[in-house]
């Protein structure tokens, strides 16, 4: 199964953080495929999926940002109603907790993926492969 990696950036509640990130990526010609911002009382985490993951990670780190690279599950979504619900059911049936989820649409716009963060990704993959779910192919 192919894996996909997400870049997480720590962000204090201070304006300008996103501009800083997008600025770094634009200069390097890196495309953002998906972005999500989780913010809480006091700070937030910006998560990105990009086309040149390793380069983006290095450049963001060099620019002084607090960055981490994490493997996530990218589950292929069928273009029909109730698809996220179906995936959620599979997760709960297998006792896997979705810690964070967002949607990534392929550049060709033909395929959408549900990006899911889980605690034990190896265990989750093993269980989900048996469930007839398809994953992103890098």
């Amino acid at each position: 199964m192919a894996k996909i990696r997400e870049i997480a950036v720590f962000a204090e509640n201070k304006p300008g953080k996103i501009e800083k990130i997008t600025g770094v990526l634009a200069r390097e010609g890196i495309n953002i495929l998906a972005i999500t911002i989780a913010s809480t009382n006091g700070f937030g985490i910006i998560k990105l999926i990009v086309d040149k993951t390793e380069l983006a990670y290095q450049k963001l780190k060099e620019s002084g940002l607090t960055v981490s690279l994490n493997e996530v599950l990218a589950i292929a979504m069928k273009d029909r109603p109730g698809q996220i619900h179906d995936i959620a059911l599979v997760f709960s049936k297998n006792g896997i907790n979705m810690e964070n989820a967002y949607v990534l649409v392929e550049e060709t716009r033909k395929q959408a993926y549900l990006i899911v963060q889980v605690k034990d990704i190896e265990r989750a993959k093993k269980l989900l492969e048996k469930e007839n779910l398809k994953f992103y192919d890098e």
């Binding site: 997400e6 997480a8 720590f10 204090e12 989780a38 809480t40 006091g42 700070f43 937030g44 985490i45 998560k47 002084g64 940002l65 607090t66 960055v67 981490s68 994490n70 810690e99 964070n100 963060q117």
Partner: protein, 430 residues
């Protein structure tokens, strides 16, 4: 009005005679009963009989807060433990607090001093004191409480916080005097204002005693206008009984220090030499009447000056100015002494926290500790950061007894700094 007129207006000569007698008596007890002091005297080759004048105090060793810490818990008692009836503590720079002990006589004596202070500001038998300092291990509330009871007025042991209830108590019982910190007084005045309460019209307040935190004359005037009352400055520290060491009379021009109980020196903190009267220096105090735990030449770290000349009120006990600052980096929140080192020690014991931190003090009750996280700690998991934040909050709270706001920052955000100036950013404008 006086509580103990004969001692409050005593002639300087007579006062100094009493001081010398009490000093010699204190020194003898320390020499024979407290091994720590006995050793200190031996170190400088001094015997109690060598102290023949008040000036001779300059030959005596100092007592520092480190000495209190090293002799924690019972090391500085000058009486058998069984004679001690109360313990108070005060925070120190490192884990252990400073222990302060009172015998029955000490409690009575500290209450006498408070009684002098209250009567000096015009308290009468119909007054009602709402005591809004913290009851507990800190000296602030209890010492005032006992003193007010000695005067014989009604005391409402409200403690701090819960401002709505505080106002309700004032309305229901007609409190005339308040005892609180200046930062809480400012907050209280703002809350009253926002609720449309006009103290002059809706309450019976006459005066407030503000202490435990340094504040300016401007703050006093502002609060007097907002609350429509007289505000009196109060000076004290746990190591010296708590409040009532020095207090303002109705002329509000410096605080009379009760010199029959405390021998005051004002020293240059760098040379340890006395500064000329009227100049700023570190206040160094020697207890003259304390039985349980007398202290010799205690370095308060507070910077103030003696106000020369006698006071119009007739009291002959010298006056000290308000406290201008500290020799060290201690700061006070909600009347609680806090050292940056305490915060630092807590932070450095928590995994995921980087070297740098900053303490921001805003209005009453608001203390923000800004903490940098470690680069490697960050893995994109928000729950992990939230858990870190609450762990920091809890650990700080149990160390300093004040709940701070904790702000997590990226590594490298805070300026790299040493010392108080940049560690503690005080925007309270007290």
């Amino acid at each position: 009005m006086f509580w103990q007129e004969e001692i409050e207006v005593i002639s300087r000569e007579e006062l100094q005679r009493i001081q010398l007698y009490s000093l010699q008596e204190t020194i003898r007890r320390l020499y024979y009963n407290v091994p720590f002091y006995n050793q200190k005297f031996r170190d400088v080759n001094l015997k109690p009989d060598d102290i023949k004048s008040l000036e001779d105090i300059q030959r005596l060793p100092f007592t520092t807060r480190d000495d209190l810490r090293e002799n924690y818990p019972y090391g500085l008692l000058a009486v058998p433990r069984e004679k001690i009836v109360r313990l108070h503590t005060s925070s120190g720079t490192t884990g252990k607090p400073k222990a302060i002990f009172f015998t029955k006589k000490d409690i009575d004596q500290s209450a006498e001093l408070i009684a002098r202070c209250l009567i000096m500001t015009g308290v009468k038998s119909d007054d009602i004191l709402q005591n809004m300092m913290t009851y507990g291990l800190f000296t602030g509330a209890l010492v005032m409480h006992y003193g007010a009871e000695k005067v014989g007025i009604l005391v409402i042991p409200a403690g701090p916080g819960n401002t709505e209830r505080q106002i309700a108590l004032m309305q229901d019982f007609g409190s005339t005097c308040l005892h609180l910190t200046p930062s809480y007084a400012l907050y209280l005045a703002e809350v009253m204002d926002s609720k449309g309460i006009v103290p002059q019209r809706d309450l019976s307040l006459r005066r407030a005693y503000l202490g435990a935190e340094p504040y300016s004359e401007e703050t006093r005037i502002k609060l007097e206008n907002m609350l429509g009352i007289d505000i009196y400055n109060s000076y004290g520290l746990s190591e010296m009984n708590g409040p009532g060491v020095a207090f303002e009379c109705k002329y509000k021009d410096g605080m009379h220090i009760w010199e029959d109980n405390f021998l005051i020196e004002v020293l240059d903190p760098d040379t340890d030499e006395p500064v000329p009267e009227g100049q700023e220096g570190e206040i160094v105090l020697t207890t003259l009447k304390r039985e349980g735990m007398p202290l010799l030449r205690y370095r308060t770290k507070d910077i103030a000056k003696i106000i020369p000349d006698t006071c119009r009120c007739g009291r002959t006990h010298k006056r000290i100015s308000r406290i201008f600052g500290r020799v060290d980096d201690m700061f006070i929140v909600r009347g609680v002494n806090i050292f940056p080192q305490q915060i630092e020690r807590v932070l450095m014991g928590i995994k995921g926290v980087a070297q740098n931190y900053q303490i921001h003090l805003e209005a009453y009750d608001k203390m923000t500790v800004k903490v940098e996280i470690e680069q490697d700690f960050f893995d994109g998991n928000i729950e992990k950061l939230l858990a870190l934040k609450s762990r920091i909050t809890e650990k700080l709270k149990s160390e300093i007894l004040v709940t701070p706001q904790v702000e997590l920052l990226e590594p490298g955000t805070l300026p790299i700094s040493e010392g108080k100036a940049q560690r503690v950013i005080d925007n309270r404008n007290l």
